[in-house]
Amino acid sequence: MLKLSSVTASYGAVPAVSEVSIDVGEGEAVGLLGANGAGKSTVLRAISGLVKVTGGSIDFFGTELTRLPAHRVTALGIAHVPEGRQVFPELTVKENLEIGAYIPSARADRARTLELVFSIFPVLAERRDQLAGTMSGGEQQMLAVGRGLMLKPRLLMLDEPSLGLAPVMADATFEKVQEIHAMGTAILLVEQNVSRALSLVDRAYVVESGRVILQGSSAELANNRQVQTAYLGL
């Protein structure tokens, strides 16, 4: 479904990721793991067109993404839930969700998708008329994920959904992501919290200094000596 081949992307002259090759199959949950600053977020930003790709190719269902502006990538069905939530603070919860279904194909089904998102996140239904900026961090994270779902995405990309959340809220968020994955949506998850991520994804890539250094199934990585010492504190 999604295939990155030797992707290099940079901010200015310094490459942030080099020669990254990863793929995500339909309905699969894949992790992109590693420490803060390893370049995981840049991979997501390269896919969605927010950062310029200087080398390699990104194929999504046969469409080359590297030259497309961000709004055209979204229109293909890739929802990117950015790091730090980034809800629209001065829009209400409902308006944030409506904007999530801005592209015409999603707009046609908006009322039905909204009901689905409200059933997954009842808190958003309760808070629908509240300004998004006045909600707690955990609630904003739920909104950011819900807003991504409004696109009816073929691929949902989540960037550090547990960042800055209390452990109980982080667990709740991961349960919701699990639920969404179980409904058949493919997921590409960027996470620093490796043990939590490995419990959710089918397989994962480990990123260090802008390169993929390891890959394997969740079980393989959980038993890998290098992963255990570097990321799991074992």
């Binding site: 969605s48 950015p82 999530g100 592209i103």
Partner: protein
């Protein structure tokens, strides 16, 4: 005394409606595109001349000529964004300032060459009509201008609050990158935002033509008020610009009435400075810390 005060407030609100229209345009462009349009006043001037020539050549009423000036300036605004402003986005503040400032100078001087420096006025059937409410004197052309200005502001509010394009515009103003992640095409949203802002300036011009003279530098009177109103009402805040525009009209009018005929601006700027001391980000930007 009380009636004099009430009359001053009414006079201020009536002209404040025009200030509000110009200010809303400036704050909309700043809020969405993050560019300060120094040429906003010149588009008011252009709207005035459009209505002036439609009135003198075709006998069209200046209020009716809104149906011409608003769409014409909307298209001009879209072209301005597409061919000029879009090219300087992301290059820092200086190119943007030079661009819109140069446009302002250019438009004033072309108008000077094309239309001469003469003050142009038009007479309508209602030019000298006025309503009287218990001692208050309300000139009809200004009342119509105020009502239409408030109507247009309300239409803009409905557009921003209820339409998908309006919500997309607010989203793009709040977070450009994430708006693109929602599938919003920023070029399109920006062009419409600048189009609306310039159309509002044109509308202000047409409304003014019913009671105010047109001349090439007339935009400067209104753009100064608009910049103060935009800061007073918090940069990028449309409701704030509307309220601040009306407040400035009232402050100016009170100054003229109670301080001196040429002291209106003194009261405006005292109000402005005192407000910024208490609320440095404007009326809607939180308290001073």
């Amino acid at each position: 005394m009380l009636i004099t005060l009430a009359q001053a407030v009414v006079n201020g609100l009536l002209i404040g409606g025009i200030y509000a229209l110009v200010s809303i345009g400036v704050t909309l462009i700043f809020g969405v595109v993050k560019v300060v349009n120094f040429a906003q006043g010149e588009f008011v001037m252009l709207g005035m001349y459009v209505s002036f020539f439609l009135a003198t050549r075709l006998g069209m009423d200046p209020i009716v000529s809104l149906v011409v000036s608003v769409p014409v300036l909307f298209v001009l605004g879209m072209l301005l964004q597409h061919y000029l402003i879009r090219r300087v986005l992301g290059l820092g503040d200086m190119p943007q300032i030079f661009l819109t400032f140069a446009l302002s100078l250019l438009m004033m001087n072309v108008a000077l060459m094309a239309f001469s420096a003469n003050y142009r006025t038009i007479q309508t059937a209602y030019s000298n009509l006025a309503l009287h409410f218990g001692g208050l004197y309300v000139p009809v052309p200004k009342l119509i201008a105020f009502a239409v200005a408030m109507g247009l502001s309300a239409l803009l509010w409905v557009f921003l609050k209820t339409t998908d394009l309006g919500k997309a515009m607010r989203a793009a103003a709040q977070n450009y990158d994430v708006a693109m992640l929602m599938g919003i095409n920023p070029d399109r949203v920006f062009a419409v935002a600048v189009g609306i802002a310039i159309a509002l300036a044109g509308a202000a011009g047409s409304l003014l033509m019913a009671f105010y003279p047109a001349y090439p530098m007339v935009g400067q009177v209104f753009v100064l008020m608009a910049f103060v109103a935009v800061v007073l009402g918090t940069l990028g805040n449309v409701t704030g610009a509307l309220i601040a525009g009306l407040m400035m009209g009232v402050a100016e009018s009170l100054g003229i009435q109670f301080v001196g005929a040429d002291s209106g601006m003194i009261v405006v700027f005292v109000m402005f400075l005192v407000t910024l001391m208490i609320r440095p980000n404007g009326l809607f930007g939180g308290w001073a810390r």
